[in-house]
């Protein structure tokens, strides 16, 4: 009998444990701190271990300032969107988190995110005017999905020693002096060297045995030069994709030609053998890198002699902006406190280490205009090379164009059609025009309109 009782107890204990495991923690405590009701927020983000440390520090500082608000930080280093989707499905979404632009806009449309315009309209400190242009993500008129938590901008990074040894002029840092595409291509050719020591301008150049490439870029940035050619991935009337637009085709073809015609850039397959951009520059596998400013963190830590210039131009000097938004989930129980923490996150003072390291760029305008603030991040070495304030900071403010994903609805699905088609282009099997015309109908069938710019 005793054995049976024991078994019965064991079974019920297991069952209760099972059920308890399924139910969520609802221990709503009525604690008070400083006469205010205690509030707990959850904040999730991706990022390296370094970023994790800074995020934890920001959360701690916030609680020091507002003792009744505790921020639980959750670090999600991989499978970020999968994890968040699951948390949303379980009704346990974090209160505040950064998200990739395309998902953020889509999720806002689906009602998953808080409309931040409710705060922006009334807040006295954080208003659209205090932000740099292009920082707010609207998913409908007066509906804000999020604000970029840091800005990201593209530039032309290079190994300065390699230029010096080749006796070539450094890439210009001022928009007015930006290289034309031909100047850029010519430099890239001179810096592309095969195993026999011939550079790509020589008739004896052997493209199948390249030791050092003039330039590298990620093929997911296929649209990098599109704004510079005076056009956009979305048609001017905003009624379809610009896949037949000659300007757009030309801008993408110029990138492809770097790989397939001029052999000055590694193909996606060849890139697999080349280390991460910063190491590639340092180890002289490549001389120039068309990349986002986040690469500065690694470049700075490598201790190499690097520099940055503005991107080459086709018609006008532009840079593509790419920062990801910070959002508040619609299911948050404490919107007011979440907004307080949100503002704290966006304040460049909170994560100043990360801004000074070169990884992040502030989104408040004053950090771009006030010399006292600029010197706290944009001139701090080694994360910011000489010329950074012109080539990246000023360029972001004056000639920055948001990447098309900020405005294109259903852009994830459309990318899933465009990117495979471009695979053929990087292999040199098709021209951009051929690839685009083949998928144009399919991609435009998924075109579901655009998000407003403000």
């Amino acid at each position: 009998m005793r054995v049976k009782l024991l078994l019965w107890t064991l079974c019920s204990a297991l069952l209760i444990g099972l059920l308890a495991g399924c139910s969520s923690d609802n221990s709503g405590s009525a604690q008070t701190v400083d006469g205010k009701q205690k509030v707990t927020l959850t904040y999730a983000s991706w990022g390296s271990t370094n970023e994790k440390k800074v995020q934890e520090q920001i959360a701690r500082q916030f609680t020091e300032k507002y003792p009744w608000i505790e921020v639980k930080y959750m670090h999600i280093p991989g499978d970020y969107v999968t994890k968040l989707t699951t948390m949303f499905a379980a009704n346990q979404a974090p209160d505040v988190f950064p998200i990739y632009k395309a998902q953020g806009l889509q999720w806002a449309e689906q009602g998953k995110l808080y409309n931040l315009n409710e705060f922006l309209k009334e807040d006295k400190e954080l208003t659209p005017d205090t932000l740099i242009p292009n920082a707010i993500l609207y998913w409908d008129k007066d509906k804000v999905a999020g604000i970029k938590v840091t800005e990201e901008a593209f530039g032309l990074y290079y190994n300065a020693d390699m230029f010096k040894e080749a006796g070539l002029p450094l890439p210009p840092t001022q928009a007015e002096q930006a290289w034309t595409w031909d100047q850029f291509l010519d430099t890239a050719k001179k810096l592309t060297i095969d195993n026999n020591g011939n550079n790509a301008t020589s008739p004896a150049f052997d493209p199948s045995n390249v030791k050092q490439y003039g330039v590298r870029f990620d093929t997911w940035m296929w649209h990098l030069m599109v704004p510079s050619n005076g056009t956009s991935v979305i048609s001017e009337k905003k009624d379809k994709l610009n896949l037949e637009d000659p300007q757009m085709i030309e801008a993408v073809q110029k990138m492809a030609d770097l790989i397939t015609v001029h052999h000055v850039a590694p193909s996606p397959t060849q890139s697999k053998n080349i280390p991460a951009p910063a190491v590639a520059l340092q180890s002289r596998k490549v001389a120039m890198d068309l990349d986002g400013q986040w690469v500065q963190l690694d470049l700075g830590q490598s201790g190499m002699n690097y520099g940055v210039g503005v991107l080459p131009k086709l018609k006008e000097s532009k840079t593509t902006l790419f920062g990801e938004p910070e959002v508040i989930s619609a299911t948050t129980k404490h919107p007011k406190e979440a907004w307080m923490f949100y503002k704290f996150l966006l304040d460049a003072k909170s994560g100043l280490d990360m801004h000074a390291s070169g990884l992040w760029m502030p989104v408040s305008k004053e950090w771009y205009t006030d010399p006292a603030l600029i010197q706290q991040w944009a001139t701090v070495k080694p994360g910011h090379p000489e010329g950074y304030t012109d080539a990246i900071m000023k360029q972001t403010l004056n000639n920055g164009v948001n990447s098309y994903e900020y405005y294109l609805k259903n852009s994830e699905k459309i990318s899933a059609i465009i990117n495979p088609a471009l695979d053929q282009v990087w292999l040199g099997k098709k021209t951009v025009q051929q690839a685009f015309s083949e998928i144009s109908a399919k991609a435009n069938a998924e075109f579901k309109g655009t998000y407003p710019e403000e």
Binding site: W8, C11, L18, N91, Q103, T269, N273, A416, P420
Partner: protein
């Protein structure tokens, strides 16, 4: 005398009633002990299945309220609105049809080899089984290096042997055969099941063939294959089910590329669910796969009567 029979009768009735109460209690205990498995199935398998069947008929996008849309998700799948459905189905079928027979042949061949009485047998068995224990993500990373067209070991060997080089997983046409090749590395599990099947064949059958003057080929054709046919059958079904559910390789190695050449069905499903957050639609995709796998299994079972031999069936 009479009283004795009475007591005996009474005793009998008592024992009868207590017997049935024991049986009842045992019955109850049986259910209790089976409860974790049954509850587990209901809570973690059957419940979610019913939920996903219902979600597959909604426009559920995670955290939004699902609206019933009837069979629209299924219609969109089959009428060609979705640019990827037939492509992914084709890629997966191609992989299954290529990989399952090859895996069976290789595993069977290895099992026969490892069933011989040679020196160092334990070592060989361990060596051939070992890759199965390596997590698929880790082995995918290793194969990624091997398949590299410029610096990968495979092309270096091809170059040294003056054989044509391949782009392996980096070309639309070779990506699926390459992944099939990679899958042959992990046939250890199938091989072990074959080995168990081979061990079951009594030696005297082979001796009989030897006495009748048969050779090794006869042994294989008339003894080994017929007697392992249930094992072959089992492994084929498991191979089909596994082949339809390939996910890690495209997720880690190719992201479905190049040009959707390795857009495996489950990867496509995952992308719909977690990248595009079309959860309802993804549920419909999952149900279509469920039906496809069920159909394949059903067909295999139907054909099995013709070629699978069970001992004691007297055929």
């Amino acid at each position: 005398m009479q009283s004795m029979t009475e007591t005996a009768q009474r005793r009998q009735t008592i024992s009868k009633s207590s017997l049935s109460s024991i049986r009842r209690r045992e019955n109850w205990l049986g259910w209790l002990f089976a409860a974790p498995a049954i509850l587990g199935f209901i809570i973690f398998v059957f419940g979610p299945m019913i939920a996903s069947l219902w979600l597959s008929m909604t426009d559920y996008k995670v955290a939004s309220t699902p609206h019933f849309v009837g069979l629209e998700n299924y219609r969109n799948l089959f009428n060609g609105t979705d640019a990827f459905f037939y492509k992914s189905l084709g890629v997966t079928l191609y992989y299954v049809i290529l990989s399952v027979p090859l895996q069976i042949i290789v595993a069977f061949f290895l099992a026969i080899l490892l069933n011989q009485k040679v020196k160092g047998l334990t070592f060989f068995r361990t060596a051939f089984y070992l890759p199965t224990i390596v997590p698929l993500i880790a082995s995918s990373m290793v194969w990624l290096w091997l398949f590299d067209p410029d610096m990968g070991l495979l092309n270096i060997i091809m170059r040294a042997l003056h054989l044509p080089e391949s782009q392996w997983i980096y070309s639309e046409t070779t990506v699926v055969p390459t992944l099939v090749l990679m899958s042959l590395w992990t046939v250890g599990g199938t091989m072990v099941i074959f080995l168990a099947g081979l061990k079951d064949i009594p030696d005297h059958y082979y001796e009989a063939i030897e006495i009748d003057g048969g050779n090794a080929l006869h042994k294989l054709l008339y003894i080994t294959i017929p007697l392992t046919s249930p094992t072959i059958f089992f492994n084929t079904i498991m191979g089909f089910i596994g082949g339809f559910q390939v996910f890690v390789q495209p997720y880690v190695m190719t992201q479905g590329g190049p040009n959707n050449g390795s857009l495996f069905y489950i990867f496509y499903l995952f992308r719909e669910a977690f990248t595009f957050s079309n959860m309802g639609y993804a549920c419909a995709i999952a149900w279509v796969l469920f039906i496809v796998i069920m159909l394949f299994t059903f067909l295999l079972f139907r054909t099995s009567q013709k070629w699978v031999y069970y001992e004691g069936e007297g055929r």
